[in-house]
Amino acid sequence: MTKLWHVAWHEYRRHVFNRRFVLVGLLSVPLLVLVMVGLVFLIISLDINTTPLGYVDYSGLLADPLPAPAPEPPDRPVPILPFETEAAARSALDAGQIQAYYVLPADYLSIGWLSVVNMGALKSPARTQFYNFLTANLLRSTDPVIANRLVKGAEIIVQSPDGSRSISSKNWFNVMIPIVAGIAFIIAIFSTGGYLMQAVVEEKENRTMEVIITSVSPNQFMAGKIIGDTAIGLTQIFLWMLFIVIPILVLRNSMSFLRGIQIAPQTLLLVVFVMLPAFILVSALMAAIGATISEAREGQQMVGIISLPIWIPYMLIGLLIGNPNSPVAVGLSLFPLTAPLTLLLRDGMTILPAWQIALSAVIQVLCAVGAIWLAGRAFRLGMLRYGKRLKWREVFARN
């Protein structure tokens, strides 16, 4: 039994303490996330224009104005300047001292409309700040608590019937967590499964196999490799999580939407009971592929056969989000290779019935055990086939 752990540790050490793993395996996804976040911030910052706004008030409502409420980061305050006349405001606009100016007519309170003069398109953050400024001043005689509520607007919380799940504008990000977790898992599954397949092929190519199997049984060897591979994947995911969690903890004080992030216990259950067996299932299938082929590039087509069903839920994302309890969604939740992503996608949108999670987990575990058996058998039959591919019908043949 200890040999199994030696194989697992060797497999883990060989790949994790390797420059390629650090560069490609670890940094690729965080870098991708960083680039995506950077792009989002770039787009937001392009929308932020802190050039002052002007206004001409004929209504007298802003004669002695209260300051504008502070905007939420990353938005920055836009100075709001009064002008006596439209001509003065226009001159400032032409001189580039302001980005736009509003004109409140004398009968603004009765007609409810105002005009805005600007050169280019007025961006939403500046517009919102002016409306908040106007609303705060219109409500200056109202109880400040009520005034503040009115300025903040309605907070609609969508809640599940059993009260276990809810979502609002403050924690909308939680819907994304299972989806992001699913993508991360699948990337990890394929990258580490790829290592495993490559390792098996290399051991065949460099003839190490023949030495190894006179020291350890094929089943122990294959199980050790799969354990090592799963540990590599979990290391990868854990470190990716660190890359994501640490910035969230650092930025949560300055970004309100990050404060609402929480992971539902059900999502954790899915990860442990469905994703983990799925991980082992795919690893074992990759190992089986590695055992049947003689060169790594031969395996790519076979990998495609496995990866296609895994990505099907993303192709059907509209259907799964629109109707997360449809028969198709339930069916995909129970099919071994589609289950992981389907369940995680549905988890963001609905309350998954416990029986579906339990049944899917049992199916995943059974399939993972079957895949390990298959990998062991393919390995036994294919380990010494140098330069000759093992046919799958030989793997499934009785002898």
């Binding site: 030696h6 060797h10 460099n206 003839r207 023949e210 030495v211 006179t214």
Partner: protein, 300 residues
């Protein structure tokens, strides 16, 4: 009880019969030669022996019974196609292979140090295996096989790729192991080394046993009816000698049927020929090998 006993084993790959009704046994402590031309079925025999392949028929007993997992720790196997992890340092590779035979890293380090020194690899132990020359990798493979002090050592073409100095070193190492009581199966087609090291051999060709037994008996079986003589004198015509053939500074006397070598020796002495050497002509293992493989020899 023999260390290895193969009884009527047969193994096919598709239509090709790689091994056909092969039987031989190897005694404990013996240095045994497994010979045969390329593709004769030697490696298949070894793989059947090691339970890598299941035979279609026949039985294998190794170290007193069928192969099992615990016996793997008592057997050292060096395959013909060398197999070491290329992208890790040599020392780590040895530690891993040793751990699969039940050795701790400290034991591997201690045992490997002597061998690395002996094979002049100490300075290279931290290098990746792929950075070592072919000969160095070959020596590293020998170390990996001997590291766990096996009771049964199976070496397939151990001299391939080695220069004469290292060949001698490996031969000495095999002799040492033999002297320590290790049973050794030397699979090779380098007859000179086999002749020097082994007492008994089996020769396989086309999956069948062609020769099996003590090397001296086999050589005697294949000896021509001739004697080799080295002398400075001219050899006259002798009774019972059909033909005189000069061979590399010696003379080979081909005897007529029924003539005994002692009669020829008596004749030579009677005619005052100064003899430096007189011996019954025995074929080399190389000659026997070629004759058997070319179809002159009968199956054992």
């Amino acid at each position: 009880m023999p260390a290895v006993d193969l009884s009527h084993i047969a193994k096919s790959f598709g239509p090709v019969k790689a091994v056909d009704d092969v039987s031989f046994s190897i005694e404990k402590g013996e240095l045994f030669g497994l010979l045969g031309p390329n593709g004769a079925g030697k490696t298949t025999c070894l793989r059947v022996m090691l339970d890598i392949f299941k035979p279609e028929s026949g039985s294998v007993a190794i170290l007193g019974g069928p192969m099992n997992e615990s016996k793997k720790d008592r057997i050292g196997y060096m395959p013909e196609e060398r197999g070491l992890y290329q992208d890790i340092p040599l020392e780590r590779c040895l530690t891993y292979l040793g751990s699969l035979k039940g050795l701790s890293p400290a034991e591997v380090k201690q045992r490997a140090a002597g061998y690395l020194e002996r094979f002049d690899l100490t300075a290279h132990k931290t290098k990746k295996v792929k950075e070592l020359s072919k000969g160095m990798q070959q020596k590293a493979q020998v170390i990996a096989t001997l590291l766990y002090q096996p009771e049964l050592l199976i070496v397939d073409e151990p001299f391939a790729g080695l220069d004469p100095v290292n060949t001698q070193m490996v031969m000495d190492l095999l002799r040492e192991q033999h002297a320590q009581g290790v049973t050794i199966i030397l699979c090779s087609h380098q007859m000179h080394q086999v002749e020097e090291l082994c007492d008994r051999i089996v020769l396989i060709d086309h999956g069948k046993v062609m020769l099996y037994g003590a090397l001296d008996d086999i050589r005697r079986q294949f000896s021509a009816h001739a004697v080799t003589v080295r002398t400075g004198d001219k050899i006259p015509a002798l009774k019972g000698v059909e033909r005189i053939e000069p061979v590399n500074g010696t003379v080979k006397l081909h005897l007529s049927p029924g003539t005994q070598p002692q009669e020829v020796l008596r004749s030579l002495v009677a005619q005052n020929i100064n003899l430096e050497q007189f011996e019954i002509s025995m074929p080399t293992l190389d000659e026997i090998f070629i004759r058997v493989v070319q179809g002159e020899g009968a199956a054992a």
